[in-house]
């Protein structure tokens, strides 16, 4: 059983803090690292992969520090985000080169097996420069898997993939996780993480904002206060009526309509139309004002 352990890990660049005092333990199975762009997901993966030293704290993979320790790559496979491979090689030559750099006893068999896992056998003799984005991603995964590592780290593996490639990659990661490997991947898209991983780590602005079972975090996300902008035939009268409802915690009259803060998303959406009808007010527009992922994350940080 291989785990990635972070103990009070911080990483900063000059005055900019990228990772702020994160403590977590990632065990076998698929774990999603979720957060908005710039939250520090890549930094965390680079730290785990031994391509960045922590400024403070301790990070170990399988009990050994990953920085300055190339030996860990016998147990770790890394799929970097950047689409930079030796594009002049064929897919097979690239995977085989990795197998040889790993000094595997039978590089040819390991190469065949890894290419089989990612289902790239048909394209293995083509140069990587002719591959689509999704194929490149898969051949990178094959190279990272060629030595049968216990830990697989993937930085934004679904970026730029079409839906079919995405499903295929999700299925692959799911299977690898079920085999008992420790899989850690980053994503800024909620749905990707939701479909794939039971456990997630949410990172916002370098901090660990939420951690644990996905369903619990999902509930936290949907039950947060929502802000809506409502435009009606009589904003003030509707506002006065709304503030009397328990599901509403705040109303503000603004130039572009009523800004309503609802503590209970479900109750508010059921009551709004009834209330407007009773008052004889026409609803012209109803817009969620804070549906961006950033505001969801911001809420998680506050709680």
């Amino acid at each position: 059983m291989t785990t990635i352990e972070l103990s009070h890990v911080s990483r900063w660049y000059g005055n900019v803090v990228a990772i702020n005092d994160i403590t977590m333990s990632i065990g076998p199975g698929v774990t999603g690292l979720l957060g908005p762009n710039g939250a520090g997901k890549s930094t965390l993966l680079h730290l785990a992969a031994g391509f960045l030293p922590p400024s403070r704290g301790e990070l170990t993979v399988d009990g050994r520090p990953s920085w300055h320790n190339p030996g860990i790559y016998r147990a770790v496979g890394l799929v970097p985000e950047r689409d930079s491979v030796y594009a002049f090689l064929t897919g097979e030559a690239f995977v085989r080169a990795t197998a040889q750099l790993q000094r595997l006893p039978d590089p040819a068999a390991a190469t065949r097996r890894a290419i089989g896992i990612v289902e790239m056998a048909d394209a293995k003799d083509r140069r990587i420069s002719t591959y689509s984005k999704g194929m490149r991603q898969r051949i990178k995964v094959a190279a990272a898997l060629v030595h049968d590592p216990a830990v697989l780290l993937l930085d934004e593996p679904f970026n730029g993939m079409d839906p079919r490639q995405r499903l295929h990659m999700m299925d692959l990661l799911h299977r690898l996780g079920e085999q008992g490997r420790t899989i850690l991947f980053s994503s800024h898209i909620l749905e990707e993480v939701e479909r794939l991983s039971g456990t997630i780590q949410v990172i916002v602005a370098g901090r660990l904002a939420a951690s644990g079972d996905f369903r619990a975090i999902r509930r936290l996300m949907t039950s947060r206060p929502h802000v809506f902008v409502v435009r009606t035939s009589d904003d003030r009268r509707l506002g006065a009526a709304l503030i009397g409802r328990p599901a509403v915690t705040g109303v503000e009259v603004t130039g572009r309509g009523l800004q309503v803060r609802a503590s209970d998303y479900g109750a508010f959406s059921r009551e709004l139309a009834v209330l407007a009808k009773d008052q004889g007010i026409r609803l012209r527009e109803l817009l969620p004002a804070d549906e961006s992922l950033e505001s969801v994350f911001a809420y998680l940080v506050e709680t």
Partner: protein
């Protein structure tokens, strides 16, 4: 043993370096050197002072450092620039081995693209295996070994390796080493000239250093550069969020 790893690193380096259009760049200066030599030889069949100028000044002091600069910064720098080095470093391959193999590839390529044409030009210019031709060949071989160590180190230290290397070759070796005598002690161009002159014994080369000084300093600089490069590569890090 790490023989397999070494072969893979060498093959990847060679293909990445020679496969680029840059490889044509390597071939142009030596080609110019040989062509100019042939032209001068036809124009001045009699023995004259020009072989020292063209082979010593142009060959050893311009073609050698510039070609070594392009090759030496390509073997490691190109992979760092485009990020493909990560795939190499995310394996247990030893970092000193990576530096050693890449350095060896660069040195051999420089010998093929500079030292061999320099010998060829020397044979044509002086009409045979003269002391000048052999001396310059030796200087070019030694220079290939020394320059590449420094340029591989520079590309491990900075992403602007070509600019920094060019500054070193032009400003330090080209200007300062000519004006400030002390700077010659830290000039690979002078080490190469010193080694060449120990065989050629030609005042036209303007060699300032003795053979022993040139060899000792050359060895020190080469070894130090490779050690620094290997240490730097062991601390290779990826920047945080891509912009």
């Amino acid at each position: 043993m790490s023989g397999v790893q070494g072969r893979v690193v060498a093959a990847l380096t060679l293909r990445a370096t020679m496969g680029r259009k840059r490889a044509f760049l390597f071939a142009i200066p030596p080609l110019v050197l040989v062509l100019v030599t042939v032209a001068l030889r036809l124009a001045h069949p009699e023995r004259a002072a020009w072989p020292v100028d063209i082979l010593g000044v142009f060959g050893l002091s311009v073609v050698l450092p510039l070609t070594a600069l392009i090759i030496g910064t390509s073997v490691l720098g190109a992979e760092i620039d485009d990020g493909s080095i990560v795939h190499l470093l995310a394996t247990p391959v030893s970092r000193p081995l990576v530096i050693g193999v890449k350095y060896a590839v660069a040195a051999v390529l420089t010998m093929v693209f500079v030292a061999v044409p320099e010998l060829l030009a020397g044979l044509i210019a002086t009409g045979g295996a003269t002391k000048l031709a052999v001396g310059l060949f030796a200087g070019a071989l030694a220079g290939s070994l020394m320059y590449n160590a420094v340029f591989v180190m520079i590309s491990a230290l900075t992403t602007r390796a070509i600019a920094v290397g060019l500054l070193y070759a032009l400003i330090w070796e080209g200007v300062l080493a000519n004006l400030v005598p002390g700077a010659r002690l830290l000039s690979i161009g002078q080490y190469s000239l010193g080694i060449a002159n120990s065989i050629a014994h030609n005042a036209g080369l303007n060699a300032a250093l003795s053979l022993s000084t040139a060899v000792v300093m050359g060895l020190l600089v080469t070894a130090a550069a490779l050690v620094i490069a290997a240490r730097r590569l062991a601390s290779f890090s990826l920047k945080g969020e891509p912009a």
